[in-house]
Subunit: 222 residues, 2 copies
């Protein structure tokens, strides 16, 4: 008998999944609260509930960790989200800064078959419009070998393959400079003073990029 989850429960699982990505330590109540913009007390409540449901390992005052089962549920939500984002951009011609809120709703639609059919319809994409990997139906994730722009050295050349931040403001900012997925980047200079980087974009315009921005852009070196 298959367990079901409310949208709220699903949002908690997804956030915990993201907060514990590439981390062995436990996720704190407060970090969940700030990610979900809820009170810490509400998190304590939900976290006990989800651990009773077998989705989390929870130790009072310590923090939480997804169980195997919880991790699978969370990963499927990430899959849903990223496939819907791909649909919105590829088929409905939304731009990458418009799709998050809509996908946030679509990801909760319950159906045994819907998301697999959507994936097939989209041609089994491996990455979403922000360059994030889409877990396949077994939860397998295709890894990329990209690094933050900020880590490149003078002279390095590469292609933009992803962005870490998904806010509308940030993505629109990137659009202005043509810094979209697939764009060619060459590092012309690095300034130690503020960790900014001068780059050449698609062999044309030069642009100085701040440390903050450079940390959010991921590059595949070539």
């Amino acid at each position: 008998m298959k367990k079901t989850f409310s949208q709220s429960e699903e949002n908690y699982l997804k956030v915990i999944f993201k907060l514990s990505f590439n981390k062995t330590s436990l996720v704190s109540t407060n970090s969940i609260a700030s990610a979900l913009k809820t009170a810490a007390a509400s998190v304590t409540e939900m976290v006990s509930k989800l651990s009773q449901k077998g989705m989390l390992d929870y130790e009072r005052y310590k923090g939480v960790k997804l169980t195997k089962e919880g991790s699978i549920v969370a990963k499927m939500l990430v899959r849903n989200h990223r496939l819907w984002e791909s649909f919105l951009v590829d088929k409905l011609h939304y731009s990458w800064d418009e799709v998050h809120e809509i996908a946030e709703q679509l990801e909760h639609v319950k159906s045994q078959t819907l998301i697999d059919r959507l994936e097939e319809f989209l041609g089994f994409p491996k990455f979403d419009p922000h360059g994030d990997p889409i877990p396949d139906k077994n939860g397998k994730i295709t890894m990329k070998e990209d690094v933050p722009l900020i880590q490149l050295l003078t002279g390095d050349v590469g292609v933009i393959t992803g962005v870490k931040e998904h806010t509308k403001a940030f993505l629109k900012y990137l659009d202005q400079f043509g810094l979209v997925l697939g764009t060619n980047i060459q590092v012309l200079d690095k300034y130690e003073y503020d960790n900014s980087v001068k780059i050449r974009i698609n062999d044309q315009a030069e642009q100085v990029v701040s440390e903050k921005v450079g940390q959010q852009i991921r590059i595949q070196k070539i």
Copy 2:
């Protein structure tokens, strides 16, 4: 400032819209309750709330009627539902008996632009997979001139253009006999005893159809 509605509120509006279709009289509390499978007391509560929001005209012990505004909201929900059903059948290759529950969820997704973009992507369909008309973005509905199969006379010829009942059981039953949208029907005989009808399907198989089924199938005469 745009009014927003919970999924629950939306479901009430949609059901009231359907129950009051082609009817001038008020919709009763009990009929809403049975359509939504909720207790009558819950309906009273929600109906007062929706009338306070200006969506319904409600008179205690009498019944309800959608206001102009409520009617628009309801029609947009019907539009959402039917466009999503079209998407599921046309693009994801679901059959007409599988789409209702999924569309029931998708119809509640909130976005200013999503449904119009979906409509465009689908090529502005006028009817959904069950032959029901899809309201356009202004709420305009294309009317059809079809009649229940049961009303045809011996010798009449026509095409199936719609079905009134959307249950999985009924639609699967129709599939078995090839009684799908676009199928050619010729009335061979009518039996007064039980109001059943003998038909020829696509100039091939003969089939006797019960009164119950004949009332649910809509035919455009040719």
